[in-house]
């Protein structure tokens, strides 16, 4: 592909991924909309990858500091985002599981 059009391949990826995302997320029930938001936030923290490259490429102090702050911001979403999504999803239980859990709590 000529270099002037190399960006077009990336645009394909973007459009197809957006389309895929739209299709998948249409099927997420409203029940899980809050975990969905937390989950997309967590995976969106993949910007940490770009931040790592900025912080560690030896492009001078300013780039390193900006990169370092970006790594910290993104990493807080990686750790916090996946933890809170897991915490939320662990709460959604079916009838039997939930009521037995409730009983345990009461008998304590």
């Amino acid at each position: 592909m000529p270099t002037s059009l190399s960006g077009f391949g990336e645009f394909y990826v973007f459009v197809l991924a957006a389309f895929l995302g739209y299709q998948l997320i249409t099927h997420v029930p409203p029940l899980l909309h809050t975990p969905l938001m937390a989950a997309t936030n967590a995976i969106d923290a993949i910007t940490v990858v770009g931040a790592i490259a900025a912080a560690g490429s030896g492009h001078g102090l300013l780039a390193s500091i900006l990169g370092c702050a970006a790594v910290a911001s993104a990493m807080s979403n990686v750790v916090g985002g996946f933890l809170i999504t897991d915490r939320m999803l662990s709460m959604f239980r079916r009838g039997e599981a939930a009521s037995s859990n409730g009983k345990q709590e009461r008998s304590k």
Binding site: A72, F82, S90
Partner: protein, 465 residues
């Protein structure tokens, strides 16, 4: 050779992210799927650390450690009631990371590599910092409104829309100028500053009840800025993830707007609070009507002997933090042979799905949580509809008063139940400032007081029945 493996790592991560999102279509598979997505993230991060252009690990390690230390409490200690502001905060961090990467990239190209920036790359960098910085301050304001350190009311002033649209146009013009003239450093930084100002100005007029739309929209912007980062860095995993996130946020905002029967433009520029200045004569009309309050004993009696009780929770339940009492109440009714279902309006609370998380937290099985379409036909069968801290989403004016600002909004048909009990702190109108005629209907009984106390008293009373 090494870099090929990094690309493989990114591909694996992308696939795992897509599978993670797909797993969220079913509550039973969701947890496992998202754990796989977390593994994908780990693979991507480790892969990146192996990139040949990384020469210095000190700053990276500092960032990773600080981030992990910040993230742990944000993941483990934040209570479920504070979820909306927690999500706003994570939008802030996500878009901050993208903006900082964009600024670092621009600065490196200008002053370290001294290479001319191609217009296409500049467009990507420009969008990255534009969406990024706008989302940073926008999310900060949203977080402030939800947490209460910025007023929750919509803040409006004369000519607000003109100011906002001018700022927006100016930012777009700067962006276009930069694409043509990437070396214009002053314009670049001016655009960053302008975008941060725009973020504040855009969220200022939006009131608390519209927060579900704003949070979804900010979610979408965060995704778009991540995708733009991917374009700037030629990194497909960023593009894919950003696109997924952008699509998710966009779809959620559309769903939220539909659930309020409003358009994007109306939410963003409508300033709901200001629009509602007294639906004419409503005050005088309702002054003549009287509400019936009910004693705890009578309410408990109704609930104890009901065959089907439908509970409609709203933001008031989150504020009063009475989910545990509500669970106790529902279990008590069930032990006496009644059936309890929960009716969840899409915009009940301050973010999409807020109520579901609160109720799931107290071990209410998710099969009992019904969406609006599923539960509405059931109300006519219900003996009692119990409204806890919800107002606009149960206001029949949305159905039968064409003059009402919320006319056309889909609502929970609680007024179809044989009897309605509303738990409410006082007779102040709901967030939108609209009178709720449900409260004046013959079959509606008001139980005034703090929702937590009221539900606790109901529980104690039903035990005595």
């Amino acid at each position: 050779m090494n870099d090929l493996w990094v690309q493989v790592a990114y591909l694996v991560a992308s696939v795992l992210f897509v599978l993670g999102i797909r797993s969220l279509t079913k509550p039973d598979t969701a947890r496992r799927g998202m754990q796989l997505a977390a593994v994908g993230m780990l693979i991507a991060v480790v892969g990146t650390l192996l990139l040949h252009e990384i020469v210095d690990y000190r700053w990276i390690m500092v960032g990773l450690i600080v981030g992990a230390l910040l993230g742990y409490p944000m993941g483990m200690w934040v209570p479920m009631t504070a979820m909306p502001q927690r999500i706003a905060l994570s939008h802030l961090f996500g878009s901050l990371a993208a903006s900082l990467v964009g600024i670092a990239e621009y600065n490196t190209a200008m002053h370290v590599q001294h290479e001319p920036i191609a217009s296409a790359r500049m467009a990507a960098l420009g969008l990255e910092v534009l969406f990024g910085s706008l989302t940073v301050t926008g999310s900060f304001m949203a977080c402030g409104k939800l947490q209460g350190f910025v007023t929750e009311r919509s803040v409006t002033y004369r000519g607000q829309n003109t100011v906002n649209i001018s700022l927006f146009t100016l930012a777009v013009l700067m962006f276009v100028y930069l694409v043509v003239e990437p070396g214009a450093e002053t314009v670049f930084y001016a655009m960053v500053v302008l975008a941060t100002v725009l973020g504040v100005m855009m969220v200022l007029p939006i009131g608390g009840a519209d927060m579900p739309v704003v949070l979804s929209l900010l979610n979408s912007y965060t995704g778009l800025s991540a995708a733009a980062t991917g374009f700037a860095l030629h990194n497909n995993v960023l593009i894919i993830t950003g696109a997924l996130d952008g699509a998710s946020g966009f779809l959620l905002s559309v769903l939220m707007c539909k659930a309020m029967n409003r358009s994007f433009t109306n939410v963003l520029f409508g300033a709901f609070g200001a629009e509602v200045t007294a639906p004419t004569g409503a005050g005088a009309e309702t002054a003549k009507l009287a509400v019936k309050s009910i004693s705890v004993e009578d309410a408990a009696m109704q609930l104890a002997y009901a065959r089907l009780v439908i509970i409609a929770p709203g933001y008031g339940m989150a504020v009063a933090q009475c989910q545990h009492e509500v669970r106790e109440l529902s279990e008590l009714i069930e032990r006496r042979g009644g059936e309890v279902k929960f009716a969840i309006h899409p915009v009940a609370g301050r973010m999409p799905g807020h109520m579901n998380v609160l109720l799931a937290e107290v071990d209410i099985p998710y099969e009992r949580l019904y969406g609006m379409e599923d539960i509405n036909p059931e109300f006519s069968r219900a003996d009692v509809a119990l409204v806890i801290g919800a107002n606009d989403v149960v206001n029949p004016a949305a159905r039968n008063e064409p003059g009402s600002p919320i006319y056309g909004m889909p609502i929970l048909d609680v007024d179809q139940a044989k009897s309605v009990i509303v738990l409410k702190r006082s007779m102040n109108p709901g967030f939108a400032g609209i009178e709720n005629h449900l409260f004046y209907e013959a079959k509606t009984f008001m139980l005034f007081g703090n929702a937590k106390d009221s539900v606790a008293k109901l529980v104690a009373e039903i035990k005595n029945v």
